[in-house]
Amino acid sequence: MNELRQIRENSLLQGLSRQLQSVRLSEPVTLMEVCGTHTMAIHRAGLPTLLPPNLRLLSGPGCPVCVTPVSYLDTACAIARQYDVTLTTFGDMMRVPGTDGTLADLRSEGYPVDTVYSPFHSVTLAQQKPESQVVFLAVGFETTAPVVAASVKYAYDIGINNFSILSAHKLVIPALKILIDDNRIFVDGFLLPGHVSVILGSEPYRFIAEKNAKACVITGFETADIIQGILLLIDQVQKRDFIVAIQYRRVVKPEGNTKARAVIDEVFESADTEWRGFGVIPESGLMLRDEFGAFDASERFPVHMEMHNEPVGCRCGDVLRGYIEPPECPLFARGCSPEHPVGPCMVSTEGTCAAYYRFSRLQGDI
């Protein structure tokens, strides 16, 4: 039986789940799952109803679409309106509201906006339409950065000059630093993202365990992975023995993926960037190095804008920082739902509000 089959075995899952339910905590423990895919998986499995008393799971800023600020979306829309370009984007971005509507609205007004599964599709599109300019909306964490970097390199190598990217790439570690230093919330341990760690490995998280005495477990995405991750975190907290453990061993290597990091490094350099809810975090984004500056859409298509307005009443910023849980937002399920989302956390398939709405909105009543 391969490792994936093993982790999906019902008997393993049920055993772990009983173990989780029988945990007894003398002190309250707060854990944060950093990654939006974890948030979804946790709610899809109904895990919030299995947590022992005194254990709290908070969702963090790990949904790339959600942390992308309004100013970015406004810039993208302004480029589309002011220049003759085709925007290409991952589907998740289509319905995120900006100051003047969503990308989907833009498309219905007749501006070309295409969804793609990979930045390479955008490069191909640029090749097919040499007369038009194709801009890829590069949103994501370390997981998507390597493929975006590779696509830019490829376009550079074969001399394509009608392709560019608008980078809102974000780095996970600087955001974790902010969360650790935030005295409005106290987190005992982090359920660390599996996919990002495939690239990063475990080393970059070490300061969290060693200097800040927080539990750290790099965790996979099957329900059994997640319960195992939570149990390992609780164990570290109870023993006060903090290390960066890897639960997701079948995929994550301690050294990460050096090749992928090398291609990111070759194409991008770190820069200060704005996060929804956090403001500007130093050195937390990726911008193109000078050598690849010609592929920077913000240079190629300069736009000027007056104001960026967050959706009225939306508390995504507070959700992303772990200050509130979605049901505490006055609009949650009262005006804001996946069919009629007000903020990005309800739009994205990895958004915390969407996860609560779809799977856990009756909590306390089941």
Partner: protein, 339 residues
């Protein structure tokens, strides 16, 4: 019109001699009910009892041939099953064919053959029909409408709004096979394993059950579009109850499971065309289940949930890990039309 390469022409729909040929040589070759033979403008029917179930459905499945069936068998089982779900014995069908110019007559014959087979299997007759031909590009090959009449069995009173606290929810077999068979064929995936749609008329399963347990059965529904999840949400909503489902009791075939994992689908949202859900008094559930297994041929029948109390109508899923979460209506268009 016996050549394998013959195609439908616009003149086949014009009402002239070619149309008469198409009807006589092709269509009536497969459909031979006496009510149909004299080609009057309407069929004269004799219907037992006075409670009638009447239903209609239109079929535009793509691809039209899929593992385990085709648009013809689907068009019969779809309407037959809808009539059965009202607690009625299906008796008569109408058949409306809309054909695209250029459609292969050979394919039409294959489809008519499976219509005939499905009708024989279900014990229904096509008693009236209509054929239209539209220009090339105005339709994707073929579209079929069937309407049907059935006679509601004495003592039977079922409806999606009759679910009651304490009912057990039974599914007649493994779910999701139709959805996956169509998806696999449509995407040209080559997968090992016996991938076959579950599409079939449910007459042999449902009628004996109704005859025996009319008093205990409150709801009968076939989980077609939106799958078990959507159907149960509709029932919960119209009955004003809360339904608890037990994920570990839901029968899913291994290859359906693997394809779902591969393509990221949830079997609970996949359409079935040969399965049904029954809500029965919990006191009768064990007996009903063994009857379904032993007498009605529902080998994988399983009690998958219970109705627990009145509410605004929601479905909750106890997952395999034991956690509980909402099982919502599908959001947006998850799958292209496959039934």
């Amino acid at each position: 019109m016996n050549n394998n390469k013959d195609r439908i022409k616009l003149a086949h729909g014009s009402g002239g001699g070619m149309m008469a040929d198409l009807i006589q040589d092709v269509i009536l070759r497969y459909l031979d009910a006496p009510e149909l033979a004299n080609l009057d403008d309407a069929a004269e029917l004799v219907i037992p009892h006075n409670r009638i179930a009447f239903s209609t459905d239109t079929f535009v499945v793509k691809p039209i041939f899929f593992p385990g069936g085709d648009i013809g068998s689907l068009a019969v089982s779809g309407t037959v099953n809808d009539i059965l779900m009202k607690g009625a014995r299906p008796l008569f069908l109408s058949l409306g064919l809309v054909l695209e110019e250029g459609f292969l007559i050979h394919d039409l014959r294959t489809i008519l053959q499976s219509i005939k087979q499905a009708c024989d299997y279900a014990g229904v007759k096509v008693v009236t029909g209509d054929t239209k031909v539209v220009g090339k590009g105005d339709l994707d090959g073929i579209c079929i409408n069937t309407s049907g009449i059935g006679s509601i069995l004495p003592g039977v009173d079922v409806s999606g709004s009759y679910a009651k606290t304490g009912d057990s929810v039974i599914v007649s077999g493994d779910i999701g096979a139709h959805g996956i068979a169509v998806m696999v064929k449509r995407n040209g995936l080559h997968l090992k394993g016996d991938i076959k749609s579950d599409a079939k008329p449910l007459t042999g399963e449902v009628l004996p059950l109704l005859e025996r347990y009319a008093d205990s059965i409150h709801v009968l529904r076939d989980p077609t579009r939106g799958g078990v999840a959507a159907t149960l949400n509709e029932i919960a909503d119209s009955s004003g109850v809360r339904i608890y489902l037990d994920e570990s009791a839901i029968p899913v075939n291994d290859w359906v499971k693997s394809v779902c994992e591969l393509l990221g689908f949830d079997p609970l949202y996949l359409p079935c065309e040969g399965r049904f859900l029954v809500f029965v008094d919990s006191s009768a559930s064990v007996e009903v289940m063994s009857f379904m297994r032993d007498t009605c041929g529902c080998h994988d029948v399983s009690v998958i949930g219970t109705v627990e109390g009145e509410s605004s109508g929601e479905v909750l899923l106890r997952t395999i890990s034991g956690g509980v979460r909402i099982l919502d209506m599908p959001v947006g268009e998850l799958l292209p039309r496959i039934c």
